[in-house]
Symmetry: C2
Subunit: 654 residues, 2 copies
């Protein structure tokens, strides 16, 4: 019996998933051993030379334990919340007394910074106590609350400790007393969506309908007009007329231009947009709201068919950190904030839970191995906020229209949203690997990452162990552990990049096409202990082309092998990467180089390169001469870990 028609899959709890492989384990270790302590030091302003954070200090001031002045962005509090969420995920993987002690103290501090009425936001408590809830459009109070709620749920789920849940419940009580549809409350909703999905997480822990209803109010009220809530509050603030070019205050910047069901294209700030869409899926699933999920499907199509880079990057404009128009995907001025690709994973994961289509897991994979991982250096100590697909340092340094582009990762940012967002994702990676559909007795493997899990199916524990050198190697071995023989389905994602997947069960060849459904090979049988599945996903180097409406990429190819998008870098190929081209039939070979970039598979092949001309003329009618030239491509995520230089994902096709 299927109770919820919109809910099909349930992700396996993070605590039940062990990651143990050569690719991700070291990154999770990096998060735990390097990034969490580094970020904690940053929050405490203990990193010499880094931009100040002042986050902990702000909480101390709010708690009455410091006399300093508030410093930082209006959303500075969220840095602590994101750190705490990462800690929660990390503790879910493995408890750690020392870390828990630090986190508990931080939670105590948060508690002391909370006002007696439940209000909790150090910016307003300390710097502008008279301006609480007067500017929902810009002021991030609900955004910070959302991140704190997410942290609370993660920490509670990992440790069972109730205190931070109590703090955020009290905060939500307060929010609910101020905002809502009832007479006497403000009908406001956040300029930066985030609390919607957080409230849905909290609701799952508390079962308190208040949490569900508040989320519903924020989503349903969004974009209602006339009058528009942002205009009402702006008038009350006596806000001056803005420059008409100041699109920051246009409603679409924060997806408040229309009621959510009427939004057909992804507009405005890309992180805001995808946090909102994620919350919409959660709410739609809970309320079985088909019209709301249909809006999400339409937005999904728009983002992934018209507005997404091959790296899973989204938001092609630095100005407003926003989407622009269909197919406007410049490579050298891609904004493609790391956080936006992370938000894409959140959204895709939620869509996958209700749609059971590998397309969503494919996008998770695309973002994860490319546009997200590029945000962090191999040593975990420096970060990209912006992830362009093409960089010429000399131009970047001299063109103001590229001011957001960096070609060296930075140690921290004044607005430090991406580094902690990246670490919370990597720490919680386990939750994106498996899910199950109990009534159908299905276990899904979405991502091929070595390790194991246990899924309870029909009252029995099913152990799943993956062994693989993915993403470098095409082979994935899955082993089943089970006490009693039992019939159920193992659904293996068949990535869209793979043209000829092969499957054997206990050395018996399976006809993949006959068992494929929406991108999953569904192997239904009576499984017994130690049954083995061998999945082979052949990974030839593919030349990928973009839809010709993406004008920037016409006449170009990108190299992809398996889930990994490649780029060419100056360190391997010399200057003027644009002078390099590949023939449609170029022979390309791959090799794993264990000493390069901490071990990556590289692609090499014979390309062409424009011969330098002898004339000093800028323009001439002679033909351009080409010479054969070795081309070497490295995984995009690993660029800018050597000497700064040019980089390009897209290569001219000759």
């Amino acid at each position: 019996m299927e109770k919820l028609s919109l809910k099909r899959l349930e992700n396996v709890d993070l605590k039940k998933v062990v990651i143990n492989d050569s690719f991700w384990s070291k990154r999770q270790k990096l998060i735990k051993e390097t990034v969490i302590p580094y970020q904690w030091a940053a929050l405490n302003d203990a990193i010499p030379g880094a931009e100040p954070s002042h986050t902990i200090e702000n909480f101390r001031i709010a708690a009455g334990e410091s006399n300093e002045e508030y410093y930082g962005m209006v959303f500075q509090d969220s840095d602590l919340a994101k750190w705490l969420e990462t800690v929660g995920h990390s503790l879910a993987i493995e408890r750690d007394d020392e870390l828990e002690r630090i986190a508990d103290k931080a939670i105590d501090l948060i508690g002391r910074a909370q006002l007696s009425d439940g209000y909790l936001n150090t910016y307003f408590t300390v710097a502008h106590p008279d301006k609480k809830w007067t500017n929902l459009r810009d002021d991030h109070e609900l955004y910070c609350a959302g991140h704190l709620i997410e942290a609370a749920v993660a920490y509670y789920e990992a440790t069972g400790k109730q205190k931070i849940i109590d703090i955020v419940c009290k905060l939500v009580d307060h929010i609910d007393s101020v905002l809502g549809p009832e007479t006497g409350k403000k009908r406001g909703y956040p300029g930066h969506p985030e609390i919607e999905l957080a409230l849905m997480k909290l609701y799952k822990v508390t079962g308190n309908k208040q949490h569900l209803n508040l989320c519903k109010f924020f989503i349903e009220e969004r974009g209602a007009q006339p009058p528009h809530y942002y205009d009402i509050e702006a008038k009350l603030r006596e806000e001056k007329h803005k420059n008409k070019k100041d699109l920051f205050h246009s409603k679409d910047y924060s997806q408040a231009h229309l009621p959510v069901r009427e939004q057909k294209t992804a507009e405005g700030h890309s992180v805001r947009a995808l946090y909102l869409y994620s919350g919409m899926v959660d709410l739609a699933t809970e309320l079985q709201d088909e019209s709301l999920i249909e809006a999400c499907r339409q937005l999904w199509k728009n983002v992934t068919r018209q507005r997404m880079y091959i790296t899973g990057g989204i938001g092609s404009s630095q100005y407003r950190e926003s989407f622009t128009v269909d197919y406007d995907l410049p490579n050298d001025r891609a904004y493609t904030e790391t956080c936006a690709s992370i938000a894409l994973v959140f959204w895709a994961d939620r869509m996958l839970q209700i749609e059971e289509d590998s397309e969503y897991a494919d996008v998770i994979e695309r973002a994860l191995y490319n546009g997200i991982l590029s945000g962090m250096s191999l040593d975990g100590k420096s970060y990209f906020y912006v992830n362009p697909l093409e960089v010429w340092p000399s131009t970047v340094d001299h063109r103001n229209d590229m001011e957001s582009v960096q070609y060296k990762r930075q140690s921290w940012f004044g607005c430090a949203c991406c580094p902690p967002n990246l670490s919370r994702l990597v720490a919680s990676l386990g939750r994106y690997i498996y899910s199950h559909h109990d009534s159908n007795k299905e276990i899904f493997i979405h991502q091929y990452i070595g390790g194991n899990t246990t899924v309870e199916l029909d009252g029995n524990n099913v152990g799943i162990t993956q062994k693989t050198e993915y993403p470098w190697d095409e082979k994935i071995n899955v082993q089943i552990e089970i006490e009693h023989e039992m019939e159920f389905t193992v659904a293996l994602r068949l990535p869209s990049w793979c043209k000829n997947p092969r499957i054997k069960v206990n050395d018996e060849i399976i006809d993949v096409s006959s068992i494929s459904k929406k991108g999953y090979a569904k192997i239904t049988r009576k499984w017994k202990n130690d049954d083995r599945i061998e999945l082979v996903l052949p990974m030839p180097v593919e030349m990928v082309r973009a839809n010709p409406n993406v004008r920037e990429n016409i006449g170009k190819v990108a190299l992809q092998r398996g889930p990994i998008v490649y780029c060419i870098e100056e360190a391997d190929n010399g200057e003027n990467l644009k002078s390099i081209s590949l023939a449609t039939n170029s022979a390309l070979s791959v090799a794993y180089e264990k000493d390069l970039l901490e071990g990556v598979t590289v692609i090499t092949g014979e390309g062409l390169r424009i011969k330098e001309i002898e004339s000093d003329q800028l323009y001439f009618t002679g033909e351009i001469e080409m010479v054969r030239s070795e081309v070497k491509a490295i995984p995009y995520f690993s660029w800018s870990n050597r000497k700064p230089g040019e980089m390009s994902v897209w290569i001219r096709e000759e």
Copy 2:
């Protein structure tokens, strides 16, 4: 005997040149009959819907004849000066009582706005009388003075009327009393060069060494340090520390980062740069200063070999309206201000006078027929400030990094520098056609424009008549009128775009290569009355390629025929112009279409176009299919005179 080794050629006086052809005459008529009255109305705020100018009103306030408040940019006065200069050139071509009466009244008003000490700048007189000469870096007082001096010389040369010369001499006296190397004076020089070349023009009229010496001071003092003059005056103004990203106040923005002889690359604001270089040539020529001219040669090479668009556009960055780095020439974000290409003509003309190399006249031609003419609509009523080489309207409308790009010409601009600059150039076009070298008995024809002139050579009047349908037709007929048979040289420019020029004199074929020197065919003979030269410059359509260091243009060609650079426009070729490509051997044909865009020669041929794909996938591994497709190109200068749409100069080469 050659008195001045650095001065070789002398341009023929504007009054002696008649333009009478089917291409330029109508444009000069447009300037006289439409643009001058339109601009006069604009200066008087008499154009409904146009942005306010307030220029005349500002002069009236300064003269004590109005009680309004100053409105406009700090350099608003220069709009009147540029208009007056245009009027001067127009009157040099043909006197006009009514126009002269209006101009005389404007001059009277200017005179009344001048203070008794000679000071003349309405912005400071009216709005900030206490701030005169306190911010030479930013405040344009010398820039406005320069334009007024240029206007004065033009008006005086056309009419012989002295009044405006007296006004500007009094102004220069005042400037000379404030600025200069002598003790007690400020050692300042203009942030926006312009007065240097103007003073050299004035010096030629007045013979007053004061004018020469002031120019010399401004050029020699430029960039001297430490301390730098701009720092001295900033300190006196108690200027606050600027944002380190505020490059407007960096010294290279106004070419004051180094003494002029040490400037090896063209930096900063492109119009400022080229006005400075023009003044440098004038001064070097007058003073026979070889090291100064050598600096100009080096800068010329940098601009024309590394930093110039195929249209003669310069200044590739909207931010600071500036040069960036070598070969950074993006097409869609080209700034290429109309004024900068005009300045390129000024500079090239001066270089030509001392270097006698067709390269300079070639650049004049390139700028004139392409990047300059594109600045004005065919009806003369709307203007481009910025002249990009590629435009996609939907993207332009949604990307902030393209905010300066327009795809529809505007009726006027708040900062209205380009329209009057364009009209003064077209009105004075006659001066760029011919020059003479008296001691060598040479008459040069630099530009092929129908009409006639009279050159005094060795005491004899030599009449030269050109008949041609240039730039559409390859044939130029030159006829000599002379009273007595006489030996001299007619030097005809052989444009670099022309591979096989042919010359006949009185039907006798001349071996062009044997008489060619630095791009000129020098025909030396005893000329008699009615001698005829037939010059044929074959104009096949050429596929032009850019130096591969111009990464934006790798794999692309531009179409050029004769001096005209072509573009493809959406009106002729449909949407997504980037999907169009040309084969290296595409057969291209030309036809004059008299009803299209007021009569232009178009290029048509068979190209390829990417077939729209059926899949809705953004990225795929299938090949791209091409279909044959007619391509039609129009002259770049004539784009955006129909329905707004896409445009591209560079086309992919398949």
